[in-house]
Amino acid sequence: MAETRWMTINMGPQHPATHGVLRLVLELDGEIIVKAIPHIGHLHRGVEKLAENRTYHQVIPLTDRLDYTNAMGNNLAYVLAVEKLLGIEVPKRAQYLRVMMAELQRIAAHLIWLGTHVLDIGATTPIFYTFREREEVLRIFEEVAGGRLTPTYLRIGGVAKDLPEGIEEKIRDFVKTFPQRINEYETLLTQNIIWLKRTKEVGIISKEDAINWGVTGPTLRGSGVKWDVRKAFPYSSYDEFEFDIPVGTVGDVYDRYIVRLREMEWSNSIVRQALDRLPKGPILSDDPRVVLPNKEMVLTDIASLIRQFKIVSEGFTPPKGEVYASVEAAKGELGFYIISDGSNRPFRLRIRPPSFLNLGALPKMIEGSLIADVISTIGSIDIVLGEIDR
């Protein structure tokens, strides 16, 4: 009898369907995957180490570059942690603006996911539509914050600037048309027989396994766990918004697809609610320890000038202690754990990356399935290597 041998295949790190620089070593028995070993770290920049050598304000731009499709959400998680450490209250208007931007960003992030995920599987059309809508969101960001991919819009104590004139109309237009756009994607995919064959019963992970592997976000909800940080530990006034948590049943690629589509609809609804009820008032806290005085004061008042100089050059010194704050980012629970030793730099800044743990569960999802399913499974857990490698 001929000897049977497993074949080892190297996939990545520059394979287009691995969404960045993920390298997978697959051991195959024919077309069946016996073992999958992910290798990560090609994009490791040492963000946690860098953060220890920067003042609290200087860390915000670093967070944009973690999950670069979800910059607003990353900013939010970080500033929430610092605000918790300082114990400062954020004005209502700023909270609503944060919610609005975070949800727009979630829509943009899910649109990238949808476009690239279906492109991997072979449907080349939807990416043109999803990027059309994503462009609208990025244009809104550009007007609001000045940046498209890395807006760095949030500040400790509030947001960088108020909404520019006329932007509300543009956001309203987007919110009005977007539900029809989701319908357009659905007509291309949801009932498409090829799509169904490639996604149904593929890459399954059960409820218990998903929790045990620390999976969060749409991937966890696809497995039927109705859990969302926005509901479980509401932050930034999320308890004042009406929305539901969509869940799947089987935990396969298709369920995760449906969950994300429904999530976009709810995000859209949250943006509309925030826009309708946007309170008037300041956009920054008035805590003199952390917030810069306004420009006019700096130019006319010596005390404000000194304060501005002190905050910019030295930063501020939060009390000793440690806090963990997390948000529901597009990929899952993104947390920041900050240990302060009372100096002006974080003693330790730990980022709890959702994609890192979601990717850890990838071998569990694909072992025993066909090699062609690897592509759709990787796409469905929606990883961003910038966040995994940090």
Binding site: G41, N53, N212, E322, V323, S326, R352, K364
Partner: protein, 162 residues
Amino acid sequence: MSEPHLAIHKLKEKFPNSVLEVETFRGEITAKVAKKDIYEICRFLYSDPELQYHMLTDLCGVDYFPETPRFEIVYLLHSFKLNHRLRLKVRVKEGESVSSVESIWKAANWLEREVYDLFGVPFENHPDLRRILLWDGYEGHPLRKDFPVEGPDFDKPYKPEV
């Protein structure tokens, strides 16, 4: 003092000598526990029917150089039943190892590898303890406080072997 949290209460009852200190800061509960019992404590918190800390949200290391014990391993557990997060901490001396909790939560597999990679703290009974973010053969552990930010080879001339 208000009533201690259910988890802390049960933990103190079950492991009276191993719960060293309990702190609350900004509403977050942290329990410092003895290193030798960390596995049993985690097992208990996971399996107790009233607590059910079924998810390991995060596991990370901290370096308190030059203190001894030098390192601290921080576990952040989450219970869906109680909707509660609990933080556990153990102190580890340099060169010592910690029991792996991988057999309780699979999530610990990669998280412990990361601590091993960036701090150099080994974990006992870990099935696959390799470097994760840096490559095999890399020297040093970057998140240690005595590791320079620019890297150890910064500004040194590179001389290829001839």
